[in-house]
Every structure is written in structure tokens, then in C-alpha cells.
Amino acid sequence: MTIKMRTLLGTAALALALSATSAAAETELRMMWYNDGIEGEVMQSLLDRFEEENPDIKVTLDVVPYKSVIESLPIQLAAGEGPDLARVTDLGGLSQYYLDLTPHLSDAAYWKENFGPFLNWLQPDSDAISGFMTQLTVTGPYVNKTLFEQAGVELPGDGATWDDYAAAVKEVADKLDIPIPMAWDRSGHRVSGPAIAMGAKMFDGEGNAALVDDGLKAMAQRLYDWHQDGTMSKELWGSVSGSTYLGANEDFANAQVVMYMSGSWQIPQFAETIGDAFDWWAVPAPCGPAACTGMPGGAALVAMKDTEHPEEAAKLMDWLAQEDVLSEFYGKTLFIPGHLGLAEGGVEFDTADPRAQHALATFAGAVPKISPVAYDLQGYANNRVLFNALISRLNEAIVGEMTLDQAYERMEDDVAKQIAEKERQ
């Protein structure tokens, strides 16, 4: 072999090696993500570590507004143009687009053991494993305990009803001239827990959606009355239309609200924005005749079936779902673990704030009290149809566009119409 030939072969081999290396490094996964607090930063640091351990995979975290996850992601997925992975809250509603990770996972039994009940939320109609919960959430109220103390009003204790709280917060607001005694997130999901506490069943005997019953009416009537007598301000629910979400977190943080019905995901934000400015206190879900329950929920990280890299997506999911990695994630983000092992063993939360610690303990303690109806509703693939019909029509009644009875009729009609449209394939 001449020197020229050897040089040529050597160059060719080098070029081949280089191209092989670059081809291997070219696997890129895109992850759509939204933030409630600092979880994007925490996830990015974990992804950096994953990339160090797996130099052949690059993961790009696309942080988008929550609205994009709700409105744009379903269209992208339907058009086959979605990301490889996404953080979603419409858990069962998008199940048709999820990848079944089972054949690619190193230990599917670990996933079933630790994420079991939540896997059903993601895939109500199959045993597929599509992802894991980045956070488990529980809805429930916060109170401004400092205002209660200043007003000399006793904070209702365990077993207190919604009526007890309504009376107490009105008294506090009247004494201290606080503009909003009670505020709720403008969300059907938030209303559903208290409605179930009042006896709402949400489904008929055959498991079909049946939104309006006496339990729901009991809660809807209270919400209506509270808006008319000033216990709740029309400013929050009344100032937008349709199913638009609106929170009162800023008003609560500015001590303009005595009691705020929201959920566990507010803890990191309140720890940062309120800190020790006043005692923001999570209280157990108030009771109704049927239960003392909030709604479970949360966000999940799922892989999409249209991904061109299912192996790599599964490798990343496997890595992120490890107990120590998730423990770090939940600990830093102050999220309630959606991993049964960690929920049982406990997570070391990265906060010294006694209010945040109390809130985490309160919401974690609320999990066993969650009504089975609430779990069923959360696992129902069309639950947002119910939530949206509930909040939009109830709101129209509250602002005086229709009576409550007309609103109930419209709710049922909206639900029937949308489910029929979905089933028309």
C-alpha cells in the first residue's frame, strides 16, 4: 500500500469516525414545559446532568406559557408536530397522543409500583405507561392567619364547614375593612372538590358524566349567594368570560383577601412572594355533608408517540423517574411527590419557612381524605368539559345573565354537546 493510499484510507476512516460521532450526538429531544415556580430551573439542572451522563442525547427544554400547553399543544399533537415530551395537566384528555414506554423501560415493575394510580389518570383505557407526575396537587384553601389574629376571630378548626368559614372570613373582613373576604380560583376544577363535599356524584350509575345533581346545586347556590352578599368579589369571577382561568394569588399576597381557595401548587410561590410578611396558612378542606375533600390533580411529564426517538425518550424518562432524582426535584420545587415510595418515605423539602412546611404537611395530610368521586373525576378523560361548563355557566348566573336553573340546563347541554362532538369520529 502506498503512502498516498494509506493517507487516503486514514482520512476516510477519520471522516467516518467523525461523522459517526456527530450522527450519534445528533439525537435531540424537545421537551415542552411550563412553570408555576422554579421547577423549570430545577428541571434544566437535572437535564444538564443527564446530558453529561448521556452525551449522545441533547434535550432542549422549551418553556412556554401554560396557555400554550392547554390550547396549542393539542393542535400540534393532532397535526403530528408536537414535542417529544411535554409537561401536561390535561392528563387523560391527551392520552391518545402518549407513547407507551413499557417496551423501552429498564424496569416497568418499578414504574407500576411507584406511579400505579397515576398511570391510570394518564391512560384511563389501557395499562400503558406514558409518564410520571411531576407534581401531585391537592386543592384547598389558604387563610391569612395574621388577619384572623388582628380581628380577634377564631380560625375554624378541623371539621369546619364551608358555611363556618364563610361566616368567619366575612367577620374578619368587616372588622379590618379587607376588600375581599373570600376568593376562589376561577376554575371548574376548584369548584368540583367542594361540590363533591356537598354530595355531588359527577357520574351516573353507568359511569357517564352527570354534572348537575343536588350536591352540585348546593355548592353552586352557596357560590352564587356569596357573590351577591359580598363574601366573594365579582371582580375575580365576573371580570372575564367563558372558562378563562383567573387566580387571586396577587390579591392574597397583598393581604386583600382573607381566605383563598386554590391548591398546593401555590406553596413555592407564596414562600417566595409573601415569605414572612404575614402568616399564610393552609387549612384542611372544609367539610360538607358528604366529605371533607379537595380535588386531586397535578402535572405529568409524558412522552409522545409521534417522537422519532422513542428509545431515547424512554431513556430520559427512566433516568428522571429514579427515586433519588425525583426526590431532588420534589424537594427543591416544594411539590407534593407523585411517587408512592417518596410519598411514604418522605421528601426533604428545601425550605426553612414554617408556613411552607405547614402547608406541605396540610396538603400531604389531605391526600387520604380525598373522596373516591374526586379521584374518578380526575381520571375521567373528558373532565375539562365538565369543569369548563360548570365555571362558565355558573359565572353567567352570578353576573345576572341567567338564573341558576337556566345555568344548570346550559351546563348539561354544554357537556352533552361537547362529548357528542368528541365521539363523532
Binding site: 368579589s233 365579582k234 365576573g238 372575564v240 368570560s241 378563562t244 353576573v399 362532538e421 368528541k422 363523532r424
Partner: protein
């Protein structure tokens, strides 16, 4: 004074010469192929050749989507691709038009569509009336030789340059419970007003903000019309001792009429399309008090869990028909103006 003018002209000529160089070079490059093309298609077809790029753009991004939208309005289900959707004929239109009493939206099967129609009609009635009125008054004032006329012309035109979202956010901050306006009301001893809780106030501010944002554009059109009126007509009227009001009614208004008509029709079309400003300002609330037809289409197609593209497409076809009628009116008005 003559010297700078000559200098300016010389610079202008030089600039024109420099600016024309690339155009001339382009013509030289294209001349050969275009001449060859002209020999093939004939000189009569050449205008169409020049129109082709624009027509292609218009066809791809306007005409084809229009037909696709119409096709969607004849389908049902939640699939994105037309080929996967179920053909339902005119069912979506029947659903939209299913009303016991068309004057009362609550009796309609799809009550929100009709509320959107009624709200839009209310909005455009007040918005167009006051928009045209204020634009006319402003144009008449700015057409006079007042002090700082150039400054005021800029001030009235400035909001037109702002993004609708920015306009809405600015006004939202002014109108919120703890906004500037309420701070002012409290400072003079009045109570705060929750503007976005009251249907009447919400509609009022939606109209007000829209007028504030767009008035400058229409003022400009009317100002151009006013400046095109020959001054000798006014001079003759003044010499005859004609009263100011009579000059306005007998000279200004008739000669401004074609511009005024264009302004009315353009304002109507923009009014029917209203969405972004009001969506950010009031979110359509309280209840559905400021939810207009375009927001109904957006909500139906995109914000619900079951994205009803068929119904949204049918509603947008209805909206398209209304806009088409208004556009024809504008075209007719423009033609009549050209013939004046």
C-alpha cells in the same frame, strides 16, 4: 431662501440617481428574459405575468384557506385534518341558527353565538358613531391654523402605532380596582368603581379604548379629504359673508362625503373584527357582556377541551359574509367617490 432649496434639489437628484442604480441594474438583468417571455405569451398577457406573484400569494394565503374553512364548516368531530373529519352537511349552520326567538339570545341553542352577534352590533353602533364623530371634529380642528398643529397631529396619531395588546394593558392598569383612575377618584373623595364588574362600564371602556386607539388613523383620512377641498370655495363663501355653520353643511360636508363614507365602512369592518384589545382588556366579561363574535369563534375552536373546529368554521363563514357585504359597500362607495 432660494439657495438651500437648490442645494436640497441637487442632493435629492444625486440620491435619486444612487437609489436608482440597483433598480436599473435589475431591469438590465431581467430585460432579456422578460422580452423572451413576451415573445412567447404575447404583449397582452404580460400584465397578468406581473400580477402572478401577488395572485399566487393571495390565492395561497387567502382564497385557499377560505375554501378550506368552508369545507371545515360542513364537518364535525375533533380531528384536525379535513380528510379525517366526518361530513355533517349544514348541521353546524342549523345548530347556530336554532333559535326560538332571534331577538332573545337566551332562547337560542347556541346562545353565546347570538350574544356575540348582539354584543358586536351594540359595539359597532356606538363605536363607529362616536369614532367618526370624534375623528371628524379632530380633523376639522387640526385643519385650522392652530398653534402646535404638527404636535397635535402626532399626538392623535400616536396610539395608532401601538400594538392593540399594549393599548389594552395600559388601559387595564388605569381602570383596575387599584388603578390610576380609581386612585384619582379616591383622591377627590369618591368611591372606587369596579369597572370590569359592571356590564355597562365594561362595554363603555371597550368602546372608549377602541376609539382612543384608532381615532388617529381615521382623523388622518379625513384630514387628507379636508385638505383636498379647494380653498377658493371657502374664500368665495367668506366674501359672500356665509355663516360658518352654512359653510360646513354646504361646502365641507358634501365635499368630504366620499372620505367620510370610506371612514364609516372601514370603521364598520374593523368593528366587526374586534377581538385583541377587548380580549386583553375585559376578557369578554363580565359574564359574556363584552364577548364579541370573533372571541366566540376563538373560544369554540381553541379554548375548550373539545375543540369544535366545525362550529367555529361555520361561525366564521357567517362573519365572512357580513364582512363581504361591508367590503362591497366600501368598494361601491370608493367607486362613487372616484366618479365624483
Amino acid at each position: 431662501m432660494a439657495e438651500p432649496d437648490r442645494e436640497t434639489t441637487a442632493w435629492g437628484d444625486k440620491f435619486k440617481g444612487v437609489a436608482a442604480l440597483p433598480v436599473q441594474a435589475l431591469f438590465r438583468v431581467l430585460e432579456g428574459p422578460l422580452m423572451a417571455l413576451q415573445r412567447v405569451v404575447g404583449i397582452r398577457a404580460m400584465p397578468y405575468v406581473f400580477l402572478l406573484p401577488n395572485l399566487a400569494f393571495f390565492g395561497i394565503f387567502v382564497v385557499i384557506p377560505l375554501f378550506i374553512n368552508f369545507a371545515f364548516s360542513l364537518t364535525g368531530g375533533t380531528q384536525v385534518f379535513l380528510s379525517d373529519r366526518v361530513y355533517v352537511g349544514t348541521e353546524q349552520y342549523s345548530f347556530l341558527l336554532d333559535c326560538e326567538n332571534f331577538v332573545d339570545p337566551v332562547t337560542c341553542r347556541e346562545d353565546r353565538f347570538w350574544k356575540g352577534i348582539f354584543n358586536t352590533a351594540t359595539f359597532i353602533f356606538f363605536q363607529v358613531t362616536f369614532l367618526v364623530l370624534f375623528s371628524l371634529v379632530t380633523a376639522l380642528i387640526l385643519n385650522r391654523k392652530i398653534r402646535a398643529r404638527g404636535f397635535f397631529r402626532s399626538v392623535f396619531f400616536f396610539p395608532v402605532l401601538l400594538s392593540p395588546v399594549v393599548v389594552a394593558l395600559i388601559w387595564k392598569w388605569i381602570l383596575l380596582r387599584d388603578g390610576l383612575l380609581n386612585a384619582f377618584l379616591v383622591s377627590i373623595g369618591l368611591d372606587k368603581i369596579l369597572f370590569f364588574v359592571s356590564p355597562e362600564w365594561s362595554m363603555f371602556w371597550a368602546i372608549f379604548v377602541s376609539i382612543w386607539a384608532h381615532m388617529g388613523f381615521y382623523t388622518l383620512i379625513l384630514l387628507a379629504g379636508l385638505q383636498a377641498i379647494p380653498p377658493d370655495l371657502y374664500e368665495a363663501a367668506e366674501m359672500d359673508g356665509t355663516a360658518t355653520e352654512r359653510i360646513f353643511w354646504r361646502i365641507t360636508l358634501p365635499l368630504l362625503w366620499p372620505n367620510l363614507l370610506v371612514v364609516v365602512v372601514l370603521a364598520l369592518i374593523k368593528g366587526v373584527q374586534i377581538f385583541d384589545e377587548v380580549f386583553v382588556l375585559t376578557g369578554g366579561g363580565p359574564g359574556t357582556a363584552t364577548q364579541f363574535i370573533v372571541q366566540y369563534i376563538y373560544n369554540t375552536g381553541f379554548t375548550e377541551q373539545v375543540q369544535n373546529f366545525g362550529l367555529a368554521a361555520a361561525a366564521s363563514v357567517v362573519l365572512g359574509v357580513v364582512l363581504f357585504v361591508l367590503t362591497l359597500t366600501q368598494l361601491a362607495a370608493t367607486r362613487r367617490r372616484d366618479n365624483v
